[in-house]
């Protein structure tokens, strides 16, 4: 039973890693494809929030020590709080030309 559970956790974490990495790749491709800075910012937000969150979920499923999982939670919360603030400031700086 725990064997099945263990492999299910492995598959889930693998899916999270692949999805997060794919989002990062699509986001950086969007930096090239989209037309102006604000659209590019829209592409850049996906790896910055959902990509990091998915990779963090995959890592948290695999890590063995509790303190490491706490650090992962800190990383995700930090990213979720700071990334919109940075994007807001950049958007305001770029927008009012």
């Amino acid at each position: 039973m725990s064997d099945i559970l263990g492999s299910a956790v492995e598959v889930l974490s693998a899916a999270c890693f692949i999805a997060g990495a794919l989002l990062a790749l699509i986001g950086t491709l969007g930096l090239h494809r989209l037309a102006d800075t604000r659209s590019r910012m829209h592409a850049a937000t996906k790896p910055a929030t959902l990509g990091v969150a998915l990779c963090a979920l995959g890592a948290a499923l695999q890590l063995s020590s509790t303190s490491d999982v706490t650090k992962v939670v800190v990383i995700v919360v930090l990213q979720l709080v700071t990334s919109p603030i940075g994007a807001h400031m950049l958007g305001r700086a770029v927008g009012n030309k």
Binding site: A24, L31, T37, A48, V52, M89, N96
Partner: protein
């Protein structure tokens, strides 16, 4: 240890190359700041995957520091762009 880590890291490496190309190519300062912000997110993802691969807490510390640095960088560049506009 899962098999998915290697393809995920390869995809992240590709993403990093594409992001660096965006920074190096001739583009505006704001575009470069956005691309560098994305690059820090890509590196964070890679550090998280590496941490789970090695089961090592050190890379997580690096990812925390990188997240803070990325935020400070984009805020600083945004303020710089604002102040440069005021001068003109």
């Amino acid at each position: 240890m899962t098999l998915a880590e290697v393809p995920a890291l390869v995809m992240l490496a590709l993403a990093a190359v594409v992001g660096v190309a965006r920074v190096v190519r001739r583009s505006s300062l704001g575009d470069r700041a956005v691309a560098l912000d994305t690059l820090t997110a890509v590196i964070s993802c890679a550090l998280l995957i590496g941490a789970s691969r090695a089961d090592d807490g050190l890379m997580l510390d690096l990812a925390v520091v990188l997240g803070l640095m990325g935020f400070l960088t984009s805020v600083t560049v945004a303020r710089f762009i604002e102040s440069r506009k005021d001068d003109q």
